[in-house]
């Protein structure tokens, strides 16, 4: 609680005690009025003061003014305890509201905590702390254990474990060593790192994320706009209703003034739209905050609203559903052992730096002994030939096998095939392919469970590869061998297929996905691997590149929307009911206070649920 809130709490308690005391004193007439004016003054002086001041500014339908009229009016109709209680509960509601909003703000600002305060620059052998904005590309900075990484860069020296949880929601720390790329906003946990800066602060990950989070409030959901519009008309309408109620029946229908003024005051107490005006943005704020704790950045509540209505999810393949890195996925030897086949291939390719060679060396998993290799010959477009341990090894595609006259056989696996021949005799082949991410299959299954009607994969890759991945993951549709422009066309065709309010989400990462990301109703980018252009064009960014986060994001959005709907319906119906009961004379001040403050408190409590996200 802040100092201001504590002061308010003290005033509320003092006023409550005074009110109870006043209720027990058997005073009459003026003495009784003064007894109740004391707690009223304690609790309501600032409201009265603001009401007077704001009227002089031309702010008529201000909540302070409405509360003042309602309570002062209650004093005039002789309802002293009610008058004090209305003001007391109004302040309780305000205090609660500011406390709840403060709490939500705090949990979100934990996310904003990723802003680095300084960078350590080395100068004349001494470390000096400078503003991260002053550091230029190419300069070397030092990040000590426990410090935030201030700028994006490459590790030059040292190795450490890095906590990326504030960005990705991933609790497992990442290992980095010389040569690793590191992103700003993460925390260096153990060792000392020397980092060469690759991006200016304004362009670095941390600045981009902060910018994204700070700007997210400017893109409002339809529900939010509806509420602000509604509030604009609601208050004048209710106040007008109160005025008519107070004047017309006594003038024309022979009603008693005190009775109808009392009913009009009930209207005034309910006339503040606070419950709605606060709870709807609070729910969206909570939903966006809860999502960002899971490493899902949403650029505005309108996207969260759209996400809840997702009908079709379209995926890019490489880098989105697959890792985008090549690995040996199968070894099929003829006559030799698997290990030996891998060894031959790795040794023959040991001088090459081609991605295929690298993945072979990685699969072989020990440093190839180059002294066993001689006469290496690279045949472009075919493969490599080398003499290993005196044997002539040929490793390459089927063209190479044909050339040396080895009898190779086809493989049923999709991917790049490296055939190996020893002294001109076929020894088997190794399959290298992009690997499907661990959670891709689960991601698709989770989307299906949530009622997504269609999942589609678009890829520029070969048809055989695309279809195999699609079948493995259980996607409904696959379109392969697409050029970047074709992807936009495919998405447009899919956009025509959706029905009703359904939305289409596209998930991608590469630079060529940017046009598709902006064309789709909701563009989702993979943040860690993804290019800057994709992140800028996207509406939602997944920081840890896990496709399973899409289902989680949809779940969070649906929960948020559910809370918003509950609050709107609940608040409106209670207010309408009490307004009606008040007009016919069946409701009293206490019910009006409930319809105002009570509803507000309940709606806020409900809204704070949006911040809590449970993992599946």
């Amino acid at each position: 609680m802040t100092g201001k809130q504590k002061k308010m709490l003290a005033r509320i308690l003092a006023s409550a005690v005074l009110l109870i005391a006043a209720a027990f004193v058997p005073a009459k007439g003026w003495a009784r009025l003064i007894l109740f004016l004391v707690p009223y003054g304690v609790i309501g002086w600032d409201v009265l003061w603001r009401a007077v001041r704001n009227i002089s500014h031309g702010q008529v339908f201000d909540e302070n003014f409405l509360m003042s009229i309602a309570t002062v009016g209650a004093f005039f109709t002789g309802e002293y305890p009610e008058a004090v209680a209305v003001m007391l509960f109004y302040q309780v509601g305000e205090l609660f509201q500011s406390y709840a909003v403060g709490r939500s703000r705090q949990s979100i600002s934990a996310l904003m905590d990723i802003r680095p305060d300084y960078a350590n620059l080395e100068k004349d052998g001494e470390l000096i702390q400078v503003d991260p904005e002053e550091v230029q590309i190419g300069q070397e900075i030092v990040v000590k254990a426990g410090e935030k990484i201030p700028l994006d860069g490459v590790v030059v020296e040292g190795s450490s474990l890095i906590d990326t949880s504030s960005l990705t929601g991933e609790s497992l720390p990442r290992e980095v060593h010389a040569g690793s790329d590191i992103i700003s906003g993460c925390v260096n946990q153990s060792g000392l790192l020397k980092v060469r800066v690759t991006k200016e602060f304004g362009e670095s990950t941390v600045a981009k994320i902060l910018d994204l989070v700070e700007n997210s409030s400017s893109k409002k959901a339809k529900a939010e706009n509806f509420i602000t519009k509604f509030a604009r008309y609601y208050t004048p309408f209710v106040v007008l209703g109160a005025a008519l109620l107070a004047v017309i029946p006594p003038l024309f229908l022979n009603g008693a003034w005190s009775e109808w003024i009392h009913r009009a005051l009930i209207f005034l107490v309910i006339s503040c739209p606070c419950a709605l005006v606060i709870s709807v943005p609070l729910s969206f704020f909570g939903g966006i905050g809860g999502a960002s704790k899971q490493g899902i950045l949403v650029k505005g509540s309108n996207y969260l609203e759209a996400l809840a209505k997702t009908q079709i999810v379209v995926f890019d393949k490489t880098g989105t559903l697959t890792k985008g890195s090549f690995q040996v996925t199968a070894v099929h030897p003829d006559k030799v052992s698997k290990r030996q086949l891998l060894e031959f291939a790795a040794l023959a390719e040991c001088y090459s730096d081609h991605p295929i060679s690298r993945s072979l060396k990685e699969a072989y998993d020990c440093e190839p002994d180059r002294s066993r290799v001689r006469d290496v010959k690279e045949i472009s477009g075919h493969g490599v030939q080398a003499v290993v341990d005196g044997k002539q090894i040929s490793a390459g595609n089927n063209k190479l096998m044909q050339q040396i006259g080895a009898e190779w056989r086809e493989c049923h696996h999709a991917g790049t095939i490296v055939h190996v021949a020893v002294d001109g005799e076929y020894a088997g082949h190794i399959v290298i392919s992009d690997q499907v991410k661990e959670d891709s299959e689960e991601a698709i299954a989770a989307l299906k469970r949530q009622g997504i009607s269609k999942t589609v994969m678009l890829t520029g890759d070969a048809k055989s590869v695309g279809e195999k991945v699609a079948a493995q993951l259980g996607l409904d549709e696959v379109h392969a061998e697409l050029l970047p422009g074709d992807k936009v066309e495919q998405v447009e065709a899919l956009l025509r297929q959706k029905t009703g309010a359904g939305q289409l989400a596209f998930v991608g990462d590469g630079i060529n996905d940017a046009p598709v990301l902006s064309r789709a109703d909701i563009g989702i980018a993979m943040g860690g691997l993804g290019s800057d252009a994709a992140i800028e064009a996207a509406d939602i960014v997944l920081m840890d590149d896990k496709p399973s986060k899409i289902a989680l994001a949809i779940k969070i959005s649906q929960k948020t929307l559910r809370i918003v709907r509950q609050n709107i319906i609940f608040a409106l119906s209670v207010k309408a009911l009490v307004l009606f009961l008040g007009a016919v004379g069946a409701a009293n001040m206490w019910e009006a206070v409930f319809a105002d403050v009570g509803v507000s408190v309940i709606a806020i409590l409900n809204a704070t649920r949006a911040l809590k996200t449970e993992k599946e």
Partner: protein, 72 residues
Amino acid sequence: MKKHYKMVDLDCANCAAKMEDAIKKIDGVKDATVSFMTQKLILDADDARYDEILKQVLKVCKKVEPDCTIQL
């Protein structure tokens, strides 16, 4: 030009909505957002008349909620 400002003591959500509405009506303001949740004002206005517009924005905010101040 688009700028962010921190708002201090913005205590009521309805006032934030009213301020936003009033700021948007100022001539030369392209877009404005007053976020009660983040306690921030995002103002997008004509470059040439920015300072003059900002003065009007401050005036309008004072009128809606005199307790609230905008940190420049």
